[in-house]
Structures are given as C-alpha cells and as structure tokens.
C-alpha cells in the first residue's frame, strides 16, 4: 500500500445534510462527515478497499477518515471530504482579506493508515483545547 498526492475539495453532501438534521451528536452525522471520497483508480493504485482507514494531511493539519470510492470524482488526484469537523481539520485560516478561508483546492497527501482510529467528535474537541 502506498500513499498519493491529491487536491482536496470540501463541500455539501446529501448524507451530511440529512445527518445534521438527525443530530450533530448522532452516529449518522459522524459517519456522513468522517469519510473521504477517492477516485477508484487512486484506490486501486494505493491498494485501498472501501472503508479502509486513511490519513489525509495538508500543510494545515492531518486527520484520520475512511475512504470510499466515488464516481463523482472527476479524475485521479482529486479527493472530497464533506463539510464538518474532519474537513475543517485540514483547512488553513488565511482568508486573503475576504473573511472566507479556502475550502476547495488544497494540496493534500493521502496515506493508508491501517490500525488508526477515526476520532469521535468529542476527541476532536479535546484536540481543539476543550
């Protein structure tokens, strides 16, 4: 298994939309936002199977999520994580004087992370200092 470089996009998904309407503390919400959509070819090249645990790293941070193949991904080298606390761990705080951080188009690295655990939302908050 080997890692690869990618461009990270974050955004809405229907599952995230429904998950948040159930509850931000529900498993359904956690499941909907702690995933990373990957191009099937990247999955194959990296020796990844659906729901394998991966580490995604950008210059701003790193997070453990589960990978899922997606035919919405236009080509190898693009990955997608739905909005939420997992995606936010990878976003920089510079807003280029607009108030808006760059949520789409961030250089990232993806590595298989067998044995690592996807943190709970509580644990993510502890990492934020509360």
């Amino acid at each position: 298994m080997k890692g690869f470089k990618a461009t990270l996009l974050t955004g809405r998904s229907l599952k995230q939309g429904m998950g948040k309407e159930i509850s931000k503390t529900s498993d359904r919400y956690k499941e909907s936002v702690s995933i990373c959509e990957v191009h099937p070819k990247d999955m194959e090249d990296a020796g990844l199977k659906e729901r394998d645990v991966i580490r995604v790293t950008t210059q701003f941070g790193s997070v453990i999520v589960k990978c899922v193949p997606s035919d919405h991904i236009p080509k190898p080298g693009i990955i997608f994580i739905p909005y939420g606390p997992y995606a936010s761990a990878l976003i920089g705080m510079n807003t280029n004087s607009t108030g808006m951080p760059t949520f789409k188009g961030i250089s990232a690295e993806v590595e298989p992370a067998p044995g690592e655990k996807v943190l709970d939302i509580r644990q993510l908050l502890t990492n934020l200092g509360r």
Partner: protein
C-alpha cells in the same frame, strides 16, 4: 389530528412554502411535499434536543435554570472588550434584529454564516452590482438555466422541480422548453438532468468565464483548451447562452470558496452583464441556510452593511477580511462570543476553532451541536419554523412567514424571546 397547509420549510434557501404537516398529540406524524432533508428534519427535530440550560463549571456542563444562564451570557458579553455575536442564518428576522441590537449594546461585532458561504458574493456585488430576478420569474420564463459550482440536487433538492428546469411555468411548461447547463468540478447528481455538463478544472472558473466572454464577443482564443475545456466546447456553450430568451446563472460555493473568491463573482457578474447584449440574463447566488438572506437584509437595514459589522466604535464599521468573525478570531482579538443557531467549531478551520475554544462563549440552539458540546453556557431554543413563527427571506430576497405548527417543550423559548431576555439583562447590568 390537525393538518397544516403551506408550511414553509425552514432548511435551505428554497424556503419551499407548500409543505403539508399533520400534527397529532403535539407531534408531527407526517409531511407531504418535503424533500429528503426536509422530511428528516420535520420527523426528527424533536429527538436529540437540548433540554436544559447548561453552564460549564470545572470543565463539565451542569444544568442550571434559565435565569442563571441568561445572566451568565449577559455577564460574558458585558465583561468583554471585543465580543462577537455570530450566526442566526437559521433564526427569524425578528430574532436577527435583536441580535444586531445586542451587538450594538455590547459594542461588538455582528456577523453571520455569510462569511463562510456567500461573503465573496457580497464583495463581488459591492463592486459590480447584481442583475438578478425572482425565482418566480425563472419558473415562468427562463429557457436557459445554468448552475455553476453548485450541486443543487444535494444542497437544494427541490430547486429544479419548484423553480427551474423541471417546474411547470406559465410560459415554459415542458422540460423540452428549457435547456439546463451544469458547470462543475465533480460530476455530481446535478449533472444527470443537464442537457450539457461541463467538467471544469478545479480553481479555473475565472479563466473559463474570461474565455467565454471573449468567445461571446467573437474574439479568437489562441489556446486549444481553457480550464480543461476544448475551445470548441466553449464556443458551443457561448452559442447556447447567446441564443436563449431568458437565461439565469445560479452559482454556488464552487465559485466563492475556490481560488479567486470574490474575483470569480466579479467575473460571473461581468459575464451576465455581457450576455444581456444578446438575451435577458440574470444571476442569483444559491443561498444555503433558509434565512441567511434575511440576516443580510436585517443587518443591512440596521447598520447599512450585510455582514461582518463592527459596532465597537459607536458607529458601524465594515471591512470584510478585518471585521469578519473568522478574521477577528484568527488574529486572537475577539474575547467573547455568543453563537446563535450555528456551529462554528464544526465548520471553521481548525486553528480558528482553537482560538474560539480559548475564549468564553455561549450557544443558543435547539439541538446539541459540535460547538454546544463545549460551550461555557448553552441555552436551548425552540425550532423556528416548527415551534416558533417569524419572517424569513428566500434566496431571491422574497420574505415569507414561517409558521408555528406546534408548541416547543415546556420551558423552551424562541431565539427571539431569549435574545430579548439577554438584551434586557445586559441593559440592566450596564445601568
């Protein structure tokens, strides 16, 4: 059993006002006309609720009475030098007005979710103006509908059916009478119903819009492709746009969140301006939260600006990038916050979220959120649009009346009532 007709759905900027809700024993038993997100909310909103006000003591949130919680919120805001009131895109306009008043009273910043959605749209609009229209005009007249950087089918599931391509308008009745174009980086569910899908390279929207504007003026492009799209395809698109009678460009966060940000919006507005030489053409942002447009309207009436307004100087000061909530947290300037119906700890970049965790903050929300889990004070509120009425603005700035279909749990008040209590407490503390 009571049936409520024409209930307004309090979720996304479509603000669909045709929901039918059946209520029995103060519970919603069924809904009609809802999309999947809406049905999920109407049938589950009462589960997983915040039930009691909470105050964080020694790292643990403990239940307190409402009076104590309101007093604590007022104390946090009054003791701060530069507090922020943030959120309210999911509150009624009446509550929003009180939020602005509270920010003025405590001399802080009033900001809302616009900052991380269509903030760049506001900036582009300040530069260029915005030739827009209502969703009713789109429904009845538009024959060309272009979605750019918007996964409409997942973010606004009924938009196509109620207002655009699949709606039955007075002058455009059939699907065949309209053309739908989708331009996006990902081939999402929204590409499926499109007549033309254009898959663009990430972050190259500005380039494609510039190329389109050139082709529209019959200028020659010396490259073979722009933004990953062959020039012939750009010409095909230009032809389609030029030949419509009433076109509309709906754009989403694909434009505002990518490289270029407000410049992408400038380019989109310029493109639409150019297109008006050929056809009637309008542009509209796909606003996400159901009343984020209302928050912009209310903040503008009361301060002159749509978001990110600093009221610490005794007069409104607006400078996004400086006065935006993300930026005052980023620079570590904000020293207390009241978050209403919003979840910044889930959606702000990690380092900004970390800075919020360093200062005292309170949350008013009907449901536990990532932010409420660790707030210093939490006050549960009624679900506006189900348990409380009020006004809200649809994405095309049309105001609609949110209905109350049943009572909130006992002891739970609306945002509007709670903000009134906090405001009164702050005033009495300040004397």
């Amino acid at each position: 059993m009571a049936t409520f007709e024409d209930v307004v759905c309090p979720i996304c900027g479509c603000l669909c006002d045709d929901i039918v809700a059946t209520v029995e024993d103060n519970k919603i038993k069924g809904v009609k006309n809802s999309c999947s997100i809406s049905a999920t909310k109407f049938l589950n909103y009462h589960k997983h609720r915040l039930t009691s006000p909470l105050i964080r003591k020694n790292g643990e949130q403990v239940p307190v009475n409402l009076e104590e919680a309101v007093e604590k919120v007022a104390e946090i805001l009054t003791n701060a030098e530069y507090p922020a009131i943030y959120g309210m895109a999911l509150s009624s306009c009446e509550a929003q007005g009180l939020g602005v008043e509270l920010a003025e009273e405590v001399g802080g910043v009033i900001d809302n979710q616009t900052v991380t959605c269509h903030g760049p749209t506001a900036l582009g609009m300040h530069d260029m103006g915005m030739p827009t229209c209502t969703l009713g005009e789109v429904r009845h007249r538009a024959d060309l509908i272009l979605y750019w950087g918007s996964n409409v089918e997942e973010s606004h599931p009924r938009h196509l059916r109620r207002y655009s391509v699949l709606s039955k308008g007075r002058f455009r009745k059939e699907r065949e009478e309209r053309k739908m174009v989708v331009i996006d980086v990902r081939k999402t569910a929204s590409a499926r119903p499109a007549d033309l899908f254009i898959q663009i390279e990430q972050g190259q929207d500005y380039e494609l819009m510039s190329a389109l504007r050139m082709v529209l003026q019959f200028d020659e492009i010396e490259e073979e492709s722009v933004a990953g799209i062959p020039v012939e395809k750009i010409e095909e698109l230009a032809e389609l746009l030029r030949n419509c009678e009433f076109g509309i460009l709906f754009f989403g966060l694909g434009l505002t969140m990518s490289r270029g940000k407000e410049r992408n919006i400038d380019a989109a507005i310029s493109l639409v301006r150019d297109l008006n030489k050929w056809a009637k053409f309008s542009i509209m942002p796909m606003r996400g939260h159901y009343n984020v447009t209302g928050m912009n309207e209310v903040t503008t009436w009361q301060t002159g600006y749509p978001y990110a307004v600093d009221l610490s100087r005794g007069y409104p000061w607006y400078n996004p990038g400086e006065t935006t909530f993300v930026d005052i947290l980023r620079r570590g300037e904000c020293d207390a916050a009241l978050i209403i119906a919003s979840d910044p700890l889930a959606h702000f970049p990690k380092d900004v979220a970390q800075n919020l965790c360093k200062i005292p903050f309170a949350v008013i929300d009907p449901h536990p959120s990532v932010t409420s889990l660790v707030a210093d004070v939490v006050i549960p509120s009624a679900v506006t649009g189900i348990e409380a009425e009020g006004s809200a603005y649809r994405m095309d700035a049309i105001p609609l009346r949110l209905k109350k279909v049943l009572d909130p749990p006992s002891g739970i008040y609306s945002d509007e009532e709670l903000l009134q209590m906090v405001l009164e407490k702050v005033r009495s503390m300040r004397g």
